[in-house]
C-alpha cells in the first residue's frame, strides 16, 4: 500500500483505499485490507462519486486531516465514511439528509464513528440547521435534485473563506431531454458567479451522466 497524491488516500494496483477509522468494521460491502498492521478500506468508484473523481484524475479534493465537512445528501454514509477516514479523529463531519429511512442507517454509522453526526434536514432550508452546525472547511453535496446548484449556493454561507466546495451533479435530475454536457455547462455558469472552479471531472464510466465540480470560495 502506498500513498497516493491525494491527502490520506492510498493506492495499490488500480484500487484506492482509506485508512479505516474503526478497524474491523465494514460500512458497505467494501474489502478490508491489512498492510503493515494498518487496516485500509477499499474505496469503490462505482459506489462513490468522490472515489470516481479521484480515479478520473482529480489532482486535489481539498479534503484534509482535521477538516470540518458539511455533507449534503449523506444517505446511508458510503462516501461520508471515507471522508470520515480522511479527516480522521480530529476532523468532524455533519451529514444532512431529509429521508428518515436512509438517515436511520447513517445514525448507526455515527454511533460507531466519533467524528460524525446526523441531521434530518432539507438542504433547501439551511436556516433550519444554521444553529446546529458550525463553520466548515469543506462543503460537499450529492443530492440529485433539479435545483442542486441553487441549494449548493445557499449553503456556501457555512463555508470558510478559501474553503473547498465539491458538488456532484446528476444530469438526469435536472432535465432528461437535454444533453448532459449542456446541463453541466449550465451548472458551471451558476457556480462561477460565486466560486472559482478548480477542477471538473466527468465520472463516466463509473457513474453515467454525472460530473464533479471542485471549487474554492474566494478570500
Amino acid at each position: 500500500m502506498k500513498k497516493s497524491k491525494i491527502f490520506e488516500v492510498y493506492e495499490r494496483r488500480r484500487d484506492i483505499y482509506t485508512k479505516n477509522l474503526t478497524p474491523g468494521k465494514r460500512v458497505y460491502d467494501e474489502w478490508l485490507v491489512k498492510d503493515a498492521n494498518i487496516e485500509y478500506r477499499r474505496w469503490d468508484p462505482e459506489k462513490s462519486k468522490l472515489a470516481a473523481s479521484i480515479l478520473k484524475g482529480t489532482p486535489n479534493t481539498g479534503i484534509r486531516k482535521g477538516d470540518v465537512v458539511l455533507y449534503l445528501g449523506c444517505s446511508t454514509g458510503t462516501t461520508p465514511s471515507h471522508v470520515s477516514d480522511i479527516i480522521g479523529k480530529d476532523g468532524f463531519l455533519f451529514g444532512i439528509d431529509p429521508a428518515p429511512r436512509v438517515l436511520r442507517e447513517f445514525v448507526f454509522l455515527c454511533e460507531k464513528r466519533k467524528n460524525m453526526t446526523a441531521l434530518l434536514e432539507d438542504a433547501n432550508h439551511p436556516e433550519n440547521y444554521a444553529d446546529k452546525i458550525c463553520e466548515v472547511d469543506v462543503l460537499y453535496q450529492d443530492i440529485a435534485q433539479r435545483n442542486q446548484a441553487e441549494i449548493f449556493i445557499k449553503n456556501l454561507r457555512f463555508l470558510k473563506k478559501g474553503g473547498y466546495a465539491l458538488i456532484a451533479v446528476k444530469a438526469r435530475s435536472v432535465d432528461v431531454t437535454k444533453k448532459p454536457k449542456q446541463i453541466f455547462n449550465q451548472v458551471r455558469e451558476e457556480l462561477e458567479k460565486h466560486l472559482t472552479i478548480i477542477d471538473y471531472r466527468i465520472l463516466d464510466p463509473f457513474e453515467k451522466d454525472h460530473c464533479m465540480f471542485i471549487c474554492k470560495k474566494n478570500n
Binding site: F92, N115, T117, D131, I133, C134, E135, D137, V176
Partner: protein, 283 residues
C-alpha cells in the same frame, strides 16, 4: 452579537467568540432565528455530535406515520402474492402426482381446496373413474399437505393484511380509498411515498404514475407517450375495451386527484359521489 445555538449561548464580537452558557443536553435548546455561524472549534465537536444525534433520533421516531404503515402493508400484500404464485406452482406439480385430475384455475382457490378437502371429496366433483394419481403413504402425503396448509395460511395473511389496510386507509384517506379501491389507492401512495407527495401531482401525472420508464422514453426519443400507468389496474380501466381505456384513465385520474385533495386538506367525504359521477359518465 448574542446568539443561541444547539449547544449553548454565545456572543460574537469582531470574530471573538465568548461562551455565555453551554447546555447539558439537546433538551435545553430552543430553536431560534439566529443567523450567526458558530466558528469552528474542536472542543465543541463532541457536543455537536451528541446533541444532533439526540435531536435526529427523536425526529426519526416522530417521522413514522400512516404513509409508512400503508407502504409496508401494501408491499407485504404484493410480496405475499409473488411468493404465493411460486409456491402454488410447486404445489400443483406435487399434488398432481397424487391427484392430477383435480384442477382449479385460481391459485388461491386451488390451495384452499387442496388444504381443506380430501382427494375423495375433490374427485367427487370431477367425473373421474380411474385416477392417474398414485395413492401416497401417510408420510409422503403429510409432507405435501404441510405445504398446502402453509400456502393456505399465506392466503389468510394476505387477506388479513388487506383488511388492515382498508381499515387504516378509510380513516386516513377515505376519498381516495373509495374512488381508487384499497389496493390501487395504497399503490399510489406507495409509489409516490406519501399522500403529501401525491397531492402535489396534477391529474395528468397521476394518470401515468407507474409508467415512468415509458415517460422517459417519450421525452427522450419522442416515442408514444404512456396513456396510463398504475391506475390501469383499476377495474374501471382494465375492464374497458382497449380503445376506451385512455379516456377512462384520464377521467379516473381526474377524480383521484380530487379525492386526494379532499383527503389531504381534510375536506368532507365525497368519495361516493365522485365514483358515481365517473360511472355515469361512461354508462
Amino acid at each position: 452579537m448574542h446568539f443561541t445555538h444547539l449547544i449553548g449561548e454565545f456572543s460574537l464580537e469582531k470574530g471573538n467568540l465568548k461562551e455565555l452558557k453551554l447546555y447539558k443536553d439537546a433538551a435545553q435548546y430552543k430553536s431560534t432565528e439566529s443567523k450567526e455561524v458558530l466558528p469552528k472549534d474542536s472542543k465543541y465537536f463532541s457536543k455537536l455530535r451528541d446533541f444532533n444525534l439526540q435531536l435526529t433520533k427523536i425526529k426519526i421516531r416522530e417521522s413514522v406515520n400512516e404513509d409508512n404503515l400503508i407502504c409496508q402493508a401494501i408491499n407485504t400484500v404484493a410480496e405475499t402474492d409473488k411468493v404465493l404464485n411460486t409456491l402454488v406452482k410447486r404445489l400443483r406439480e406435487w399434488y398432481a402426482l397424487y391427484n392430477p385430475e383435480f384442477s382449479v384455475a385460481n391459485n388461491e382457490k386451488y390451495a384452499e381446496l387442496v388444504a381443506r378437502k380430501s382427494k375423495q371429496q375433490l374427485l367427487k366433483e370431477t367425473n373421474v373413474k380411474v385416477s392417474m394419481g398414485k395413492d401416497l403413504p401417510k408420510k409422503d402425503l403429510d409432507a405435501m399437505m404441510n405445504l398446502a396448509k402453509k400456502i393456505d395460511s399465506l392466503v389468510q395473511l394476505k387477506n388479513e393484511t388487506l383488511d388492515y389496510l382498508e381499515d387504516i386507509m378509510k380513516i386516513y384517506c377515505p376519498n381516495l380509498t373509495e374512488v381508487a379501491g384499497v389496493t390501487v389507492g395504497a399503490k399510489l401512495i406507495e409509489h409516490t411515498g406519501s399522500l403529501r407527495k401525491l397531492v402535489m401531482f396534477p391529474a395528468s401525472t397521476i394518470q401515468i404514475l407507474g409508467a415512468e420508464k415509458a415517460l422517459f422514453r417519450h421525452l427522450k426519443t419522442g416515442a408514444r407517450p404512456p396513456r396510463h400507468g398504475l391506475i390501469l389496474q383499476h377495474i374501471f380501466v382494465s375492464s374497458a375495451p382497449q380503445k376506451e381505456r385512455g379516456r377512462r384513465a384520464r377521467a379516473l385520474a381526474d377524480k383521484l386527484s380530487m379525492a386526494v385533495k379532499l383527503d389531504f386538506f381534510k375536506g368532507e367525504f365525497l368519495g361516493k359521489k365522485l365514483k358515481k359521477q365517473l360511472e355515469e359518465k361512461f354508462k
